[in-house]
Symmetry: C3
C-alpha cells in the first residue's frame, strides 16, 4: 500500500520550520498501520531534518556549526554566480540531507518524545519549497 501527498512551504530565509504536524496528518490520511513515511524536498539548497523539538537554541546552534562547515562566500568556492549563500546552501543540503524517513506504527509516526521534523532553509532569502510525503506499508 502507498499514499502520497505534497505541500508547499514559503520560508523566510535561513532557519527552520517545524512540519511534524503536517506530516502526521498525511500519515493519518494514509490509513497505513505499519510502515515508513518518507519526507522529501525537491530542492538542493534546503533540507529536511529530525532534531530536538524542545529548545529552539538547538537549531540555532546547528546553524552556527553549519556555517563553520560551509561558510557563505568562502574564497575556495568556484560556484559563486548565484550569490554568496548559494554554494554554502548546497553544502548544508549535503550535510543535513534532502529526506528523512520515519517508521509508522499503529497508523502514527513513531517519533521519540523529543524528535521533531523540520524543513531547514539554507538560502539567505525567502523561498517556496515543495515537500513530498510518501507513506508505504
Amino acid at each position: 500500500m502507498s499514499h502520497q501527498q505534497s505541500f508547499d512551504i514559503r520560508t523566510r530565509g535561513r532557519g527552520t520550520t517545524e512540519i511534524t504536524a503536517e506530516v502526521a496528518r498525511i500519515v493519518r490520511a494514509a490509513a497505513i498501520a505499519t510502515g515508513i513515511a518518507q519526507v522529501f524536498v525537491q530542492h538542493t539548497s534546503c533540507s529536511v531534518m529530525i532534531t530536538e523539538n524542545a529548545d529552539p537554541a538547538v537549531r540555532r546552534d546547528l546553524e552556527t556549526l553549519a556555517a563553520r562547515w560551509a561558510p557563505d562566500g568562502d574564497p575556495a568556492y568556484r560556484h559563486d554566480t548565484e550569490g554568496a549563500d548559494d554554494m554554502a546552501a548546497h553544502a548544508r543540503s549535503l550535510l543535513a540531507g534532502s529526506a528523512v524517513s520515519v517508521p509508522v506504527g499503529g497508523g502514527e509516526l513513531l517519533l521519540g518524545t523529543w524528535q521533531g521534523i523540520y524543513l531547514w532553509e539554507h538560502r539567505a532569502g525567502a523561498q517556496l519549497r515543495h515537500v513530498v510525503v510518501t507513506v508505504l506499508g
Copy 2:
C-alpha cells in the same frame, strides 16, 4: 507487506555498538524476500550508521572527526543546560543521521562484505536507546 520490531540497547556512553546481527534476525523473521529494512532511533543525541566493520580504529577516527565538527562545550553553543556534551550530541546526530535503510534481497540484508550497522552513542554517559526496525516488501 510490512514487519516491525523494536529493541533496546543500554549504551556505555560515547562509542559504537554493532547491531547488524540483531537487525539481520528481524529481517529473517519478517520473511520478506525483496524490500528495504529501515533502522531508526527515537532519540536526537545518538545515531544509526553504516561503516567499515573490520578495523575498530575506523570508528575511533570517526569519533575524532565528529569531535572536531562539534566539540563538547563549544563557547558558541547557546543550548548548554544539559551538560557540555549535549549540544555536541545533537550536532553529531545531524551529521550521522537517526536512521539507515538497507536493501533486502533473498530474504537477507544486502550489506556489502565490509559494511556493519552501528548504534552510535553521542552522549558522554550511559543511556537506554530504543531502536525500531521496519521491513517493507
Copy 3:
C-alpha cells in the same frame, strides 16, 4: 510490490558519476505507480548523493569541503594501513551517506528540476562499485 535491480560502476578515483538515468530506467521497469526508490552502495568508501545537476563546480566545491572535513593522511588517524586516502574515504562516506531514497509518482522518479543522483567515489584510485536499486510501492 517490490522490484530490485543492481548495476556496477567503474569509477576513475575521486569524483562523481551521475546515475540519474540508470536509476530512472529501473524505476520505469518496476512499473510501480506510487512509492519510493532507494539507491544503495555496498561499500564504506563511496557514497550516493543528491545534489545540483547544472553546474559541475558545485560538485568540485563539495569535494573541497569534504577534504576539509576529512583530510587525507590526517595525523590523528589511527586507521592508516590502506593508504592516506582510506580513512578520509570512510569519513566522507559518513558525511554523504551510503544511500538515497527518492519518491516515485506516476511511475517516475519525483526529483526536482535541479536534482541529480550521483555516485561519489571517495578513494583516490579507480574502483568497481556495486549499486542496488530497490523500488517499493
